[in-house]
Amino acid sequence: MHQTAVSKPLSGVTLGYFDGVDVPEYDKILNCMRCGMCLPHCPTYSLKQVERSSPRGRVALIRAVADGRLELSQGVADEAFLCLDCRACETACPAGVRVGYLIEAARSQSEQHLFRPWWQRVARWFIFEFMFLRQWRLELAALPLRFYQKSGLRKLVHSSGLLKLLPKTLRFMEEIVPDGLERPLRLSLADEVPAIGEEKARVGFFLGCMMSILFSKTSRATVDVLTKSGCRVITPKAQRCCGAPLANEGFKDKVKDLARFNIDLFETLNVDYIVSDCAACGCVLKEYEEMLEDDPEYAERAITFSHKSRDITEFLAEWPHFDSSKGTYEGRVCYDQPCHLQHAQKVCNQPHSVIRNVKQLEFVDLPESDWCCGSAGTYNITQHEVSMEILDRKMGNVAKANPEVLLTANPGCMLQLQWGVKQKGLDIKVMHVTEMLSEALKNGAEVIDKSSS
C-alpha cells in the first residue's frame, strides 16, 4: 500500500521511488560491486539463506528503488527492518559500502511512504518523537520499574509463574530489565567531578539514556576510571538522547535537532574530549559530522564535536595517563565486541589491549566475538524471534569459551547477554569493561598499598 508522504520533504530530492527526506545518495549505492564478500558475515543471511536478507541483497533492493525498477514496497521495508544494522558487512566489504547509512535511509523512507495502522503511528510517535526527546520523560517512565523492583513485586511475579501467561515478547521485555535499578546517574552525579591528583584533561561525559537509567552503577565506574586517570569529568545535565533509537526506527531526520542541541550544549563546556560508554551513542555522536554537513550554521561545529568524541575503551587505550596494568583482576574473562564499537566505529584493538593488560586476568578468546548478539537496539523486541535465534548462536559460543566473566562495552549487549546467560543457566557474570577496570584499579591500589606498607 502506498500512502503519500506524512512529513514535508525538506530538500525535495527525488531518486526513483524515493523522495522526501533522507533520500540515499546514489553514489553510496553504486559503490556496491556485488562481490558477495558480505554474505558470510551477515547474521540474517546465515539464518534465512535468501539473497534479499543479505547486505548485498538489501543494497540491490535499495538500488532498484532508486533506479525506479522496484516500488518502495512493504517487502523492501521489511528487509530494511530485518537487518540488524550490525555493520559486520561494512567491515567485510572491500569497496567500503556504507550499508548502515543505506539501511537507515531506507527505514526513514519507509516511515515516510508506507502504511502503518494509526495506533502504531501514535505509539511510535509517542516513544521516538516524544519520550526520547527529553531525559526526564524516560526517567519518569522508569520510576514505576524501580518501585516494581524495590517493593519486592518483581520477585513475587517471577516466582508466581505469572510471566508464563504473557506473550513471549512481553515476557522478554519484563525479564530483560536488569535488577537493582538505581536512581538515574544524570540525577545523582555531580556536574563536575574533579580528577584525583593532577588534572590532565577536561572530559565531557555523554551519559546516554540506557546507561544512565538502566546501568547507572556501570557509568559511575566509568567516571571512577576517568577521574583516576587525571580527567575532570564534566557531565552536562541538560543533555538529550544522542538520537540512535530514532535513526534505528526510521526517524533519522529528527536526529539532527538532537544533534544541534547536544553540540550547542557541549560547546559551552570547553572540553578536550567527549567520552561515552555506550557504543551505540558513540557511533551516532561520531556521525553528527556527516548528518550536519549541509547545515551552514552547524557543519564546522559538528566536525569539532565528532572529532572530540571517543568511546571510553578507545580513550583509555590511547590516554597516556591510564595504565590498565596498574589494575589486578582475577578471573577467566571473555570480551564480546559490540557491533557498534567494532564495526561501526572500527574500535577493536583498544578494548582488547585495555583488558588484556590488566594483571592476573586470564583472557579467553570468545569464538565469533565479532558476530552480533541480536540485541540491535529495539530489534530484540520488534524482531524477537530472529533475535532469539541469533542469541542462541552467541550463547553457544559463550558456553564453549566458558569464562567466569563476560565483558562487553554497550548497554544493549549487556541486557541481551545477561538475559541469555540467565536463560541458559550459565554461571557467568556479564559486565561492562569499565566496571571491570574500576574494580581492577581498586584491587591494584590495595596491592600497591599492601606492598608499600
Binding site: G36, M37, Q49, V50, L61, E71, V76
Partner: protein, 465 residues
C-alpha cells in the same frame, strides 16, 4: 503452462516455502558478481534440497521448455549465474551438507551448496587439505567452483578444481541423473566426463554431488615479500625458483598502481616507486620450507630485487601478506565501479603483458591496476571506472578487446579463472577456432537439445542453433 501453473507445480516439488517469486526476490536473484553487464529478470527462484527435487524440476523444465539457470552463491565474475528473462533460477545453496570425509581414501563427498572454505575447514580439523582457494572461497560454493573450474592463489603448486575432481553426480537438462567417477585414483572407464562438466558453466548439466580428493595438510609455511624495480625481474624470479626445483605455493604480484593504491589505503610502508611486489609463500615439511625459504630469498636478490623480507612467524607473515590482501579493497574504494578482469599468459610473457596493459591504459585514458598470480601468469587487470559514464565504459571495452587479443597472441587465454559466461562470449571463437567452436556446439546440442540450461552463457543462442 502459465507462470502460475509452473509455480504451483514447483511448490508441489519443493514445498511452497522454497519457491520465491515476489518482486523483491526476483530483483535480488537477477545478478551475480560481474560488474557492468545487463541482467534479466527471472520468473521464479526454486530452492531444492535433494537430487530428486532437482531432477523433478528439470523434468518439468524439459517438458515445458523453461529456461533454467543454476546458481550457487552468485559471486561469479562472468555472468554465469545471472538471470535470463523469464528463467527459473535453480538455487542450490540449501544442498549444503558435507556428506563424508574419508580419511583413509582421502576424499570428501559434498553437496554443491557447500561453501569451499567450510570444506577446507572441515578437512583441516582432520589434518587434511583441500587446496583450491579462489578469492571468493568464503562464500563461493563447490558447485560453482566445479562449474567454473575455479583456481585461486595456490594453484601454481596445487592445481585447480578439476585436478581434485574424482566424481560427480549430474542432473541432465532432461532430468535424468547419472554418476561418473569414484574413489579410485585411476579410473579410465569411458570418456573423462567429470572433467568435461568442470568449467561447463552450468550449460551441460546441474551438479548435485561432488567427490573431491584431499591431501595431507602441509605443517609449515614461510612467507616472503620482495620489491623490484623492473617487472621482468619479478617474472624471472619465478622462473629461477622453478629451475631450482622450488614450486612455491603462492606467488602473488602487485604492480606499481596497486602498490600506491594499497599504500594510500592501508599505509603499510610499501615503497611507492617499486615497479613490482611479489608475495611468495612456500609450504610443506618444516625442514623443506626452511631450506626453500632461504633459497627463495637468495634467488630474489640474485634476480635484482631491491629488498626481500622474510616473516619470522605467522603474525609477521600476516603483516607481509597484508599488501596482497588489501589489494582489491584498496582498488575498489577509488571509484564507484570496479571491473576485475582476468587474462593469463605464459609466465615468460608476464613482463610483456604488463607493459602492454600499462600502455593500453594510457592510450584509452583509463585507470588500471594489475595484480595477479605471477606463478601461473594469471593477471587481474582491474579498471577503476564509473558505470554511469558511457564513454568511459565504451573505452574500457575497447581496451579489453586489445588486452585479450594480446593475451591470445602471447599464447595465453582470455580467462584464466573467471569463465566465459556472458562477458567473454565474443572472444571464445578466437581462442577455440572454427573447429573447436564446432566441437563445443555439438557437445552442447547433444546434452541440451532444447537449449534450456543457461542458454546464451558461453555460447550465444544463435551459435548453438
Amino acid at each position: 503452462m502459465t507462470t502460475l501453473e509452473i509455480i504451483n507445480e514447483l511448490q508441489g516439488i519443493v514445498g511452497p516455502a522454497y519457491v520465491l517469486y515476489s518482486a523483491e526476490d526476483l530483483t535480488t536473484y537477477s545478478y551475480d558478481g560481474t560488474a557492468g553487464i545487463a541482467t534479466g529478470t527471472p520468473m521464479a527462484v526454486v530452492q531444492p534440497v535433494s537430487t530428486e527435487e532437482v531432477s523433478a524440476i528439470m523434468h518439468l523444465a524439459d517438458r515445458e521448455e523453461i529456461v533454467v539457470v543454476p546458481r550457487g552463491s552468485g559471486t561469479g565474475l562472468s555472468g554465469g549465474s545471472t538471470a535470463i528473462n523469464g528463467c527459473l533460477i535453480l538455487q542450490l545453496n540449501r544442498m549444503n551438507r558435507i556428506l563424508e570425509i574419508d580419511t583413509i581414501n582421502l576424499t570428501a563427498f559434498v553437496e554443491p551448496g557447500v561453501i569451499t572454505a567450510d570444506l577446507d575447514k572441515a578437512a583441516a580439523e582432520l589434518g587434511l587439505f583441500y587446496p583450491p582457494d579462489p578469492g571468493s572461497m568464503k562464500i563461493s560454493t563447490m558447485g560453482g567452483n566445479v562449474a567454473e573450474n575455479s583456481g585461486g592463489l595456490r594453484c601454481f603448486k596445487y592445481g585447480v578444481t578439476e585436478d581434485y575432481l574424482m566424481g560427480l553426480e549430474v542432473v541432465l537438462p532432461d532430468g535424468r541423473v547419472f554418476w561418473t567417477g569414484g574413489k579410485t585414483k585411476k579410473d579410465v572407464a569411458g570418456y573423462n566426463l567429470k572433467k568435461m562438466f568442470a568449467s561447463s558453466e552450468g550449460t551441460l548439466g546441474v551438479v548435485t554431488k561432488i567427490l573431491v580428493r584431499l591431501i595431507p595438510r602441509p605443517p609449515a609455511v614461510a612467507t616472503l615479500l620482495a620489491y623490484y624495480d623492473d617487472v621482468a625481474q619479478a617474472g624471472d624470479t619465478v622462473t629461477a625458483m622453478v629451475a631450482a626445483g622450488i614450486i612455491p605455493c603462492t606467488v602473488e604480484f602487485l604492480d606499481n598502481v596497486v602498490i600506491n593504491t594499497v599504500e594510500d589505503f592501508a599505509q603499510l610502508g610499501l615503497p611507492r616507486d617499486a615497479t613490482a611486489l611479489l608475495l611468495i609463500q612456500t609450504d610443506g615439511h618444516p625442514a623443506v620450507v626452511e631450506d626453500e625459504a632461504q633459497k627463495i630469498e637468495q634467488l630474489c636478490l640474485q634476480q635484482g630485487a631491491r629488498e626481500v623480507k622474510r616473516a619470522k612467524d605467522m603474525a609477521e607473515g600476516d603483516r607481509l601478506a597484508a599488501a596482497r590482501r588489501n589489494a582489491f579493497s584498496s582498488l575498489a574504494r577509488i571509484s564507484p565501479t570496479t571491473v576485475l578482469e582476468d587474462a593469463s599468459v605464459p609466465r615468460s610473457e608476464l613482463a610483456t603483458m604488463l607493459t602492454f596493459i600499462q600502455d593500453v591504459a594510457k592510450r584509452y585514458n583509463l585507470r588500471i591496476g594489475t595484480f595477479g598470480h605471477a606463478g601461473d601468469g594469471n593477471l587481474h587487470p582491474t579498471v577503476l571506472i564509473d558505470e554511469r559514464h558511457e564513454d568511459e565504459m565504451h573505452r574500457m571495452h575497447q581496451a579489453f578487446e586489445e588486452i585479450f587479443a594480446k593475451a591470445i597472441e602471447l599464447g595465453g587465454t582470455v580467462t584464466g579463472e573467471h569463465g566465459v559466461g556472458y562477458a567473454k562470449r565474443e572472444f571464445l571463437p578466437s581462442m577455440l577456432g572454427d573447429t573447436g567452436m564446432d566441437v563445443t556446439r555439438r557437445i552442447k546440442r547433444a546434452l541440451d537439445p532444447k537449449g534450456i540450461l543457461n542458454p546464451g552463457k558461453m555460447l550465444t543462442v544463435e551459435e548453438v542453433q
